[in-house]
Chain length 350, copies 3
C-alpha cells in the first residue's frame, strides 16, 4: 500500500527571510544571503574550535543561557547534534526524549507545555511526530509576553530545516573549488515521498542558479507536487526517474535516503523492490571522480558501508557538519553572530 | 468512590526552624523570618540574573558542586524547575527520571540507593510516589559519616515544600503594595484532599497574621482534618464551602488546583461534577480588581486559557518564580547566601 | 539450572600495556607501573578537589571536551560514577541510557552508531549486554580517520575494567600501612561464574607479588577456568572452597558479590542455597581486625546492612573511589596527566 502524502505546511507567520533569525521553523525562512552567512559562520566556528583557546572562547559566548531539547519523537542523531552544539557554546541543556516522561500524561496542552519550558530556558529545540507543531509553538510564543525562540528539529513528515542547512553546507564545501552549488546537477534518491530531508533540501535549491535536480524514486514514492510546483515557480529544473544507472554518471552529487518505514501503517507495511535504489562499490565506479555522495543517516541497505572508504563519501563529514551548522544557527538566533565574528578575528590575528 | 485520605506525616527529626537549612523536607521547617529571607533572596537572584555579568557571577557560586535529580515519580515541571535552578548556580546535574532506569530493578533498598547517590554528588533532589520517602532519606543521611542535603521535590500525597515556598513568594509579590500576605483572604479550590500543594500552602499560613482561608471543594474532597487542626492551633481562620460564586468576590487570591486523578484507584475512578469548581472569564468578572489567580499547573478544565490574558492571572509568573525560589533555597542549603548577598550588593553598587 | 559460562574474550588488538592509555577496554591493558600510576593520580585528584580552588582547577582541565555515555545496558551506579567523573573534569555529557531511545530502532549497525557518536564528542563511555562490544567499537574507531577513545563501562558477562581499577585502588588504600596488595590473601565470594567484577579483579592480581586468592562460591558458580589458567601461568596461588567460615579468619580482604540473576534464563531461574555465602555481624566477628570487607554494590542478602558501621566495611568508600579512579583514567585517556600533576604540585606548594 502506498502511504498518504503529507499536506504541505501552510505559509508561516514567520519573520521575513532577511539575515536575522529568531524562530527557526521552515526552510522558507532562508534567503541566499542568509544561507551564505550561515555557511561562513559554520566554517568559522569549526576553525575557531580547533584551538583550545578558541574552544574556550566559544564556550563563553552563551554560557549563561539554557536550552530545552523537547524530543517527543525520539532521534539519537539530531538530539546529540543539537545537544553538543549547545555544549560547544556553553549553553546548559535540559531534555525530554519521549512523551511518557512529560506532563502530557497529565493531559496538558502543547501550548501550556511549551510556555512552561519557556519559563525556565532561553531556547526550545523541539522534534515531534506531529506536522506543524513547531510552527504552532512559535506562534504561541509570539502571543505571550516573554517569548523564547523555537528551533524546529523536525516535525512530522514535512520540513527539517537544520538538516537542510547542513546539507547545503556540505554541498557548498564539496564544490568549494568548483564554484559552489550554482550550476550543479544533484540527484535525490529513495523515499522522496516521506523523507523530509530530501523535501527540505529540494525546497532550498531555488536560492542557487542553474541547479538541476534529479528525483530518483520507486513508483509511488516520488517527490510530491507541492515541491515540484515550488521549483517550477522558481525556474529550478527537475526530472523524475527510476533508472539510477542511467543518471548516475551525470550527477555532481547524489543524496541517498532511507525508506521511512516508521511512517508505515503497521498493518500494511510498504512492499517495494528497493534493490534498484542502492549505492554500492559498483555504482560508485560510474560516478564522476569529483562527485559527492551524501546521506542524512542512519542508513539501511541503500548505502553500502564499503563506500565509506571512498573519498567521494561525504556523509560522515555531513553528519559532523550538522553540529557546526547548528552552532551557527544558534549564534544567529541569540543574535551573537557579530560578537562571535570579532572573537574569531581576534583569534586569527592573535 | 472517595479516595482514602493520606495519613499525616509524623513530626520529623528535622533541624529547628531557624534561619538555616540543610535538608529541605517539610513546610514545618519554615519560620516567618526564614520565609521572609527566602523571598528576599529570590528577588535578589532574579534581579542579579538580568545582567549578563550578574548571571555569570551566579553561575560561579556553586560551579564545583554536583546535584542528583532522583525523580522516581515523573514530573516535567518540577524537574525542569530544579534542573534549571541548578544550572543558574553552575551546579552540574545527573538525573534519574523513572524507576526503571535505576538499580531498583536489581532489588536495592532506597537507603542504599540514596547513599550511593551521596557518594557522587553534593545534593540529592528527590521526588517519589511514596509518602515520607524524602524524610526517610534525610534520616538515613543523618546516620552516615558523609551526609549530603536531601531536597524534597514531592513525596506521596503529602507535602511539596518548595512548591509551597514559591506559592508564598508569588502571594507576597502579588500583594507587595498592599502590605504582603498578612490580613488577606485566600481561597484554595479543587481537590484539597489529595492536592499536596494546597495542603502545604495552608500549613504555612500560620506564619502570617490575620489570614483567612476559604476551602472550596466538592463534597468528599475537603481539606483534611490534620491541616484544619493545625490551623485551629495557630488561630488561622478557615471556612469550608462548595459555593465558589458566593465567596469569589471576597477573595484576595484564589488558588486553583487540578483533580489528582493519578492517585485514583484505576478500577473505580472518582466520579464528581467538577463543573462548579472552574475559573473562566465569567468567574473572573466577579473578582476584585487587585485579586491574584494562582494555579500550580499543569491545569485541566478548572482554569480556562482565556484567563491567561487577564492581569490578575499570576500562574505563569508563579511557575517562573518556582525556579528562582529554588535558586534561593539552594543558596541556603549550601550556606552561600551571605556570599551571594555580597555579590549582589557589589553588582548593584558597581 | 546452571547458566552457561561466558566465552573468554579474545586477545584484543589493544595498545601495549605500557603507561599510556587511549581506549580502556580490558584489564589486559594494565601493567603494574600503570596501576601504580593510576592509584597515585586517583589520590591526587581526590585531594586536589577538597579545596574549592583545586576543584575549580580540575574543572578547567577538560572544560572544552564532550563525552557520550552510551549505556544500552542500564546501570545507575556506573552511569553516575562516570557522569560525575566527567563533571569533575569539566567535561560536558550526553547520554543514552536504554536502547529504545536510540537509532537502533531504525536498524542502524553498532558501528554506524558509534561512528555517529564520535562525530559529536571526544570520548565514548559505553556499557552493553553484548560481550565484546566495547572491543568491537574500539577496533572500528581504529579504522576511521578521526577516532575517539572508547571506555568500556561493562560489556556482557566478561570484563568491567574500571571496576577492577577501583577495586585495586581500594585494596591498595586499605593496606596502605601494611605494604599494599603484595603478599595478601584475598577472598572472592559469590557468583564468580557470572560476576564480571570478580573476574576482572582476579585477572589483575598477576601484577602483585605473593597474592593468594580464595574463591568462595556455591557449586556450579565457581570461578571459570580461563581465569584460573591465567593465574597459574602467572604463578598466582588460588583455592576453591564453599566453606566461608573456614577461610574467613585468614583473609586480608573479602570481596563479596551478588548473585547475577539478571543473566538467568527467565524460564528456569537458578535455584541455589545462598545462605552459606553471606556476611553479617556474626561472620565479621571471625575476621582479622585489619581486614577489608568489599562489595561492588548493589548488594542483596549476601551483605547485611548492620556491617556498614564496622570500620572494616570498605564498600561505601570503594564506591566513591570509583568516581575518582574514573577521573584518573580520563586524565590518562586525554593525555592530560602531566598537566594535572603540575596543577596538583602548584596547589600543594601554594
Amino acid at each position: 500500500m502506498i502511504p498518504p502524502s503529507p499536506a504541505s505546511v501552510p505559509e508561516a507567520s514567520l519573520p521575513t527571510a532577511d539575515r536575522s533569525l529568531f524562530h527557526i521553523i521552515s526552510p522558507k525562512q532562508f534567503s541566499r544571503p542568509l544561507l551564505d552567512e550561515l555557511c561562513e559562520l559554520t566554517t568559522a566556528a569549526r576553525t575557531l574550535a580547533k584551538s583550545r583557546h578558541g574552544a574556550r572562547a566559544l564556550q563563553m559566548l552563551l554560557a549563561d543561557k539554557r536550552a530545552m531539547l523537547y524530543f517527543s519523537q525520539p532521534s539519537t542523531r539530531t538530539f546529540l547534534s543539537f545537544n553538543n552544539a549547545c555544549h560547544i557554546l556553553g549553553i546548559r541543556t535540559s531534555e525530554i526524549r519521549n512523551a511518557s516522561t512529560s506532563s502530557e500524561v497529565k493531559g496538558e496542552t502543547v501550548e501550556d507545555s511549551i510556555r512552561t519550558f519557556s519559563s525556565y530556558v532561553d531556547v526550545i529545540i523541539m522534534r515531534s511526530w506531529e506536522q506543524g507543531l513547531a510552527e504552532r509553538a512559535a506562534e504561541h510564543m509570539n502571543s505571550i509576553p516573554r517569548p523564547v525562540p523555537i528551533v524546529n528539529a523536525g516535525s512530522g513528515k514535512d520540513h527539517h530545516p537544520t538538516q537542510a542547512l547542513l546539507d547545503i553546507y556540505t554541498l557548498d564545501r564539496s564544490f568549494s573549488d568548483r564554484g559552489g552549488i550554482d550550476g550543479k546537477t544533484i540527484g535525490l534518491m529513495g523515499d522522496l515521498l516521506r523523507g523530509r530531508t530530501a523535501r527540505s533540501l529540494a525546497y532550498l535549491m531555488k536560492n542557487y542558479s542553474d541547479v538541476r535536480l534529479v528525483f530518483i524514486a520507486p513508483s509511488g514514492f516520488e517527490m510530491q507536487d507541492d515541491i515540484k510546483s515550488h521549483l517550477d515557480e522558481h525556474k529550478v529544473e527537475w526530472y523524475d526517474t527510476d533508472q539510477l544507472e542511467e543518471v548516475l554518471p551525470d550527477l555532481d552529487a547524489v543524496y541517498v535516503t532511507r525508506i521511512q518505514t516508521e511512517w508505515d501503517d503497521p498493518d500494511s507495511p510498504v512492499q517495494v523492490d528497493y534493490s534498484k535504489f542502492q549505492i554500492g562499490l559498483e555504482q560508485v565506479k560510474s560516478m564522476r571522480s569529483d562527485a559527492a555522495i551524501m546521506h542524512p543517516l542512519p542508513r539501511g541497505p541503500e548505502l553500502h558501508p564499503a563506500v565509506d572508504a571512498d573519498p567521494r563519501a561525504m556523509y560522515w563529514r555531513q553528519e559532523r557538519n550538522g553540529m557546526w551548522m547548528r552552532v551557527a544557527a544558534l549564534l544567529k538566533t541569540f543574535g551573537v553572530d557579530d560578537q562571535f565574528r570579532s572573537i574569531y578575528q581576534d583569534h586569527n590575528i592573535g
